[in-house]
């Protein structure tokens, strides 16, 4: 197993470095386009550790058997936060090229930023907040992974400590992930605002992270130790959770749409007009079908959830559509009413993805694939007895 993960890591890193070189060339050719493409790719990959962090803390609080199967996958994902913090630097360097409000601050005055935005959307405050978010995420993930690893080795139970962190941790997570979504993506169109925005991001990050964990668990499930522990029951539970998140995402997204569509206010509706006209309209339809309708219908089936292979295929559709969703949320800010896909969009996706998967495989190989949690050991013993 170790060798296999090392091989994955090496291959991913090679692909990531090659794509990174392409991106750097792209950045010299068109810095603005590079930043736009890089933003979508970055937020997509950052969503995996973010969602993983939330699911991990939720798992510590409720502790079902499904969680123990993917616990180490989630932990490997959250260990990538320091690396992701480094990859955030291009936004700080290129802030004026990417965000219209930052250009306005610098005297470009493309947009008139009024109200609280004048204070909130300033480059210095933006950077300080990003530092704070990463500090919270790194601190939480460091403690969670450290205690979990120590529990493997010692007889002492760390459950109490993990739970005590997870409650307040989830509250802090809610705040930081909400405001990071507002800062990094919502503020691309500074005149627009929506109070549900942060919640939509939290749910879609969770959905993507769970989909990724299901795919990874499927790939590892043929060999020990996962082969013995991941029974169809656990995949069914994971499938149900994915179904719940898919429905929740659709519920929140539709609520936002209905409220804004019904009111048709001049400061709100343009956001949807940009995304529902021209080529973007078809992307929106694609989202409705492949991010909601199809996974929803397939995940209703018990058979589809119990078979790891079919569940992983559904999860892959969800994961890919999450990237399409981020593109649809972001790119129309730059290219309203006409579909636009640059080669850098894909290059950046592969660059960050290669580096991220490399780091993920590296961390995953460093620990045992199943945690030594007394509750899990108990559950396994019970399952063997029956």
């Amino acid at each position: 197993m170790r060798e296999r993960l090392d091989a994955i890591r090496n291959r991913a890193l090679i692909v990531g470095v090659v794509a990174t070189v392409l991106c750097i060339i792209g950045a010299f050719l068109d810095a603005r386009q590079f930043l736009r493409s890089y933003l979508v790719a970055y937020v997509f990959w950052l969503g995996l550790p973010l969602g993983s962090l939330a699911i991990l803390m939720l798992h510590h609080l409720v502790g079902g058997r499904w969680g123990f199967i993917i616990q180490r996958l989630l932990e490997a994902a959250v260990k990538t936060f320091p690396a992701m913090a480094l990859l955030f630097l291009p936004f700080i360097i290129g802030i004026r090229r990417l965000y219209p409000w930052a250009a306005a601050h610098a005297g470009g005055a493309e947009h008139v930023v009024t109200g609280g935005k004048a204070v909130y959307l300033s480059p210095a405050f933006f950077t300080a907040r990003a530092v704070f978010y990463f500090a919270v995420w790194i601190a939480c993930s460091y403690a969670l992974t450290k205690w979990s690893r120590e529990q493997d080795r010692s007889e002492v139970s760390f459950i109490g400590r993990l739970q005590n962190l997870s409650g307040p941790g989830l509250a802090l997570y809610g705040l930081t992930s909400t405001f990071s979504a507002i800062d990094w993506i919502m503020s691309l169109e500074p005149e627009w605002y929506s109070t549900i925005y942060g919640m939509i991001f939290m749910v879609s990050h969770g959905m993507a992270a769970l989909a990724f964990a299901i795919i990874a668990a499927r790939l590892l499930a043929d060999d020990p130790p996962l082969a013995g522990a991941a029974a169809p029951d656990q995949f069914q539970d994971l499938g149900n959770l994915l179904l719940a998140l898919v429905m929740f995402w659709a519920y929140l997204s539709f609520s936002q749409f209905l409220i804004i569509w019904a009111e048709n206010l001049s400061e709100e509706i343009p956001w949807y007009v940009r995304r529902a006209t021209g080529g973007w309209r078809y992307v929106a339809l694609l989202l409705i079908i492949f991010q909601f309708a199809l996974p929803f219908l397939l995940l209703l089936s018990r058979m589809a959830k119990r078979r790891a292979r079919s569940l992983a295929w559904i999860a892959l559709v969800v994961l890919i559509m999450h990237w399409v969703d981020l593109l649809w949320l972001t790119a129309p800010a730059f290219h309203p009413s006409s579909f636009y896909l640059h080669w850098l969009d894909l290059a950046a996706l592969i660059a960050v993805g290669g580096l991220w998967i490399g780091a993920f495989a590296h961390y995953l190989g460093a620990t045992a694939l199943l945690p030594n949690d007394p509750r899990f050991v108990e559950a396994l013993r019970e399952a063997e007895a029956t």
Partner: protein
């Protein structure tokens, strides 16, 4: 008491959902005796008597309203939605805990729901009854309420389907129907138990009719299980949809402070929050009054406290996003509304709502508070009050300060507003009293099943 807390502290997982020492017979005896053999406690007569006085007040207030019209209430233009809508939203929200416990926790196989689901479902039905009264009375001419339905009218008038108020009619009536069916189907095996144990002729006849010929055969149980799973599946979306539609009443209402996209999830969380607060408000005195501590254990109270803490935090998140966006947006109307909430004529209600809904419930982080019935009872009462204030602030403050200063106004409830509101609380409690007197308030057969599962371990 202290021992019990220590036990829970030592191992949360092992804390029982049913106290040890019970047999199938003792469970059946204990729960059915409340209805059939035990003398009705004095407290029941006192409680029912007081509630019934309020029912009479309600009848009087409604009669007077029907003769005089809605002018006896405090509503005016611009504040045309006063107490009636505040109370409607409050009562509808309270019902949600019952549906969550009976449907979602059933699907999630949460064992601790078994001893609280029956009266939580009853609470749902009674709360929806109280809620339904308000929009009907608020119509002004309640006898024309059927105009809200799309029936083939000779006047060629159809309801406005783009209005969330019409969606409400469908959402609430579906909700009531499904909740009632769910509750009744769940009662059938227990009604048969009561039929078999009743000594007198009339109770045997009445429970026998209601039990619909239940004999407890394997076929019966098989059909029962299928029906209750199907009903749980049907009821689950209703937990979310009803309060979502209620939130659309506001969000599609344009006024500052109403048109906010966070409203649907935040209303649903608020509904579950207030619902669990009401379940605790009822469960804690009931378990004391009838000595049901063995069945409604500290584990139940603790779990409900945790649900309240989680949903309360989502509600706090909603307030925070509203506050942040009103500041961030730069919209002068949104900003002014937030300023007016904090500093205007209704500021005491606003700060009290933050205190009751957000500050006080944070005590639930402490395990000792979550396992103390008295502390939970006090917090639950605070949340009940806080959630009512929240709806008052949302409804009244926004309407009294809309876009045009010349259209601003003030609102306060009259004696008749208070009479109808207090009357519905009386109606709700009176129905609860009748319910615990005539029907088993804890599901007997589910407790027996729970005992079976627990003893197998």
């Amino acid at each position: 008491m202290a021992d019990e807390v220590d036990k829970i502290l030592a191992s949360e997982e092992i804390a029982p959902v049913i106290e040890p020492g019970h047999t199938y017979a003792s469970i059946t005896d204990k729960i059915s005796a409340i209805v059939l053999t035990r003398p009705t406690p004095m407290l029941w007569y006192v409680g029912f008597g007081i509630s019934f006085v309020f029912v009479l007040i309600l009848l009087f207030a409604v009669s007077y309203l029907l003769t005089k019209g809605v002018g006896i209430w405090g509503i005016n233009i611009p504040v045309a939605w006063g107490f009636a809508i505040v109370n409607f939203v409050w009562w509808i929200g309270i019902g949600h805990a019952g549906t969550l416990i009976s449907a979602i926790l059933l699907l999630l196989r949460q064992k601790w729901r078994n001893s609280i689901n029956r009266f939580a479902e009853a609470m749902t039905i009674f709360a929806v009854m109280c809620a339904g009264l308000f929009p009907l009375l608020h119509l002004g001419r309640p006898w024309y309420f059927y105009w809200l339905f799309p029936y083939p009218s000779t006047m060629d008038i159809q309801p406005q389907f783009r209005s969330p108020l019409v969606w409400d009619v469908f959402a609430v009536s579906t909700y009531f129907t499904v909740s009632l069916l769910f509750w009744y189907v769940g009662l059938i095996p227990d009604l048969a138990t009561l039929r078999d144990r009743a000594r007198k002729r009339f109770p045997r006849f009445a429970y026998g009719m209601l039990a619909m010929g239940w004999r407890g055969s394997a076929v019966h149980w098989h059909r029962y299980e299928t029906a209750s799973l199907l009903l749980a599946g049907l009821a689950t979306p209703l937990v979310v949809s009803v309060h979502t539609v209620v939130s659309f009443d506001f969000t599609i209402g344009l006024v500052p402070g109403w048109h906010s996209t966070i409203f649907p999830p935040y209303f649903v969380a608020g509904a579950i929050y207030s619902g669990f607060a009401m379940v605790l408000t009822l469960a804690i005195p009931l378990r004391k009054m009838y000595g049901l501590e063995d069945f409604i254990t500290l584990r139940h109270l603790k779990n409900m406290g945790e649900v309240m803490l989680a949903t309360g935090l989502i509600v706090a998140y909603g307030y925070m996003m509203e506050g942040f966006v009103s500041w961030y947006s730069g919209s002068p109307f949104e900003r002014y509304l937030m300023f007016y909430r904090m500093h205007g004529a209704y500021r005491y209600m606003f700060w009290a709502l933050l205190l009751f809904n957000i500050v006080i419930p944070q005590a639930l982080w402490i395990l000792r508070v979550r396992t103390s019935p008295l502390a939970l009872f006090i917090i639950a009462i605070c949340v009940n009050v806080g959630m009512w204030l929240e709806r008052y602030v949302i409804v009244v403050v926004s309407l009294s300060r809309d876009f045009m200063p010349s259209a601003w106004g003030m609102y306060s409830g009259t004696i008749w507003d208070y009479a109808v509101f207090a009357g519905t609380i009386g109606l709700f409690l009176a129905l609860m009293f009748v319910f615990v007197r005539l029907l088993p308030m804890i599901s007997i057969f589910e407790m027996r099943g729970l005992l079976h599962e627990e003893s197998e371990k």
